[in-house]
Subunit: 245 residues, 2 copies
């Protein structure tokens, strides 16, 4: 699925803790014209009675919020996934400011999703691994204390700035495949590697999986490219099956 | 009194109602490096015990806050006074966005002050009359619901952009591998695909090879990533060899 260049980003709250903060995030979004919220495993379930009052009238955002079990499911239809972090992390992904992200999102084909972590701890490494880009708010190095709704409002504010002026992208490159297609390919490869006893020793497996995911997320392959690669993997698996038959 | 061009603006809260909101405004300020708060006739007096907990550690801002009876006294030393309003008002003053205000303030001689009105009602006409410029946050015309701390944070955020304090982390991404390393990986894959009879029919082979090459060149994988992928390929080939043995 592709979408118009000006399709607003989806705000994904990953394991949010307090309903009040979900409401505040909704209010922050709607102030700047964002309406699509997705929730990944909200701690206290959903709907949450504390969200409505905190939304100060942004009920439409809460009413349309969709709940998912995993981050991967929440961003399945989004080719462009950003992970917000306040601090630099030891990851080898491009890091952009809210301003740069807004420019990218306006020029992008297909939906963008922006992940925000739980209030206390922020996104985990596995959440960040799903994103192609890190979104970091440049902040006072001696006092970084942005709350969830504040992080959301800064990102939404930057996005809204270009709305009247957004010009269509110059080159119609094939957009990156929706996330679920990439996920399917990664799953296929991992299964093959499992069979090949690639994951050894076992305690290194999570790190190895993350390394592979990062590496395969980096290209931003299109749907067509992902299909080609899945053909490659099937051929390799098929050859193996035939030979061992 | 003149000050350096980079003198940070003073945040002036005019007749703030809740101590909690004063604390939140302090927190918003310090996140983006602003430290000078002035209070005009805070409703519940000053200090206010509700402010500290809401400041989440931005105590230095509260401790140094100065209290004034009138707006005129609060901005007496400031040549540049901005009045924030969410909606455009029927006043004949220039109206700027937070972004434009930040540019002006950075280039200005002498201190800038930014007035924020009481939570419920905003600035009164007499307060606005003291300002030379109106600062308006462009907002969803169908849902304008910025609270005090949110208005402060957007203004502080824009101001901080021009400051060196907060440049985004320049992550030294690993450079793409030298071409011969990529070539080695492509050769390894192609040999495996040859064995797997992937290239069929034969007259399509050159196009298929080109497609694969394009797709594998796109990511700009680093040397380390190329080594990881060669390990993956070897594992898959090894599994095949073992099974066919």
């Amino acid at each position: 699925m592709t979408a118009d260049a000006s399709t607003p980003p989806v705000i994904v709250l990953v394991r949010p803790q307090l309903g009040e903060n979900i409401g505040k995030a909704a209010r922050a979004m709607l102030n700047f014209g964002l309406t699509e919220m997705r929730l990944v495993s909200p701690r206290d379930g959903w709907p949450n009675p504390a969200a409505g009052p905190a939304a100060s009238g942004a009920d439409v955002v809460l009413a349309n919020a969709r709940v998912f079990e995993t981050v991967a499911e929440a961003v399945a239809d989004c080719p462009h996934v950003y992970a917000t972090t306040v601090r630099k992390r030891g990851v080898t992904k491009p890091v952009v400011t809210p301003e740069e992200a807004a420019v990218q999102m306006r020029g992008a084909h297909g939906r963008s999703a922006i992940l925000f972590g739980p209030e206390r701890s922020g996104l985990e490494t596995d959440d960040v691994a799903l994103a192609r880009t890190i979104l970091t708010v440049p902040i006072n190095p001696e006092f970084g204390s942005l709350n969830l709704a504040q992080a959301v409002i800064l990102v939404a504010y930057e996005w809204s700035k270009g709305e009247a002026l957004a010009s269509p992208p110059e080159v119609a490159l094939d957009p990156p495949a929706p996330h679920e297609e990439l996920e399917g390919m990664i799953g296929q490869l991992n299964a093959m590697l499992e069979q090949a006893n690639f994951f050894f020793p076992p305690d290194r497996t999570p790190a190895t999986l993350r390394t592979l995911r990062t590496l395969l997320t980096k290209p931003g392959w299109s749907s067509q490219e992902v299909r080609t690669l899945r053909g490659v993997l099937s051929a390799l698996a098929g050859a193996k099956a035939k030979r061992s038959a």
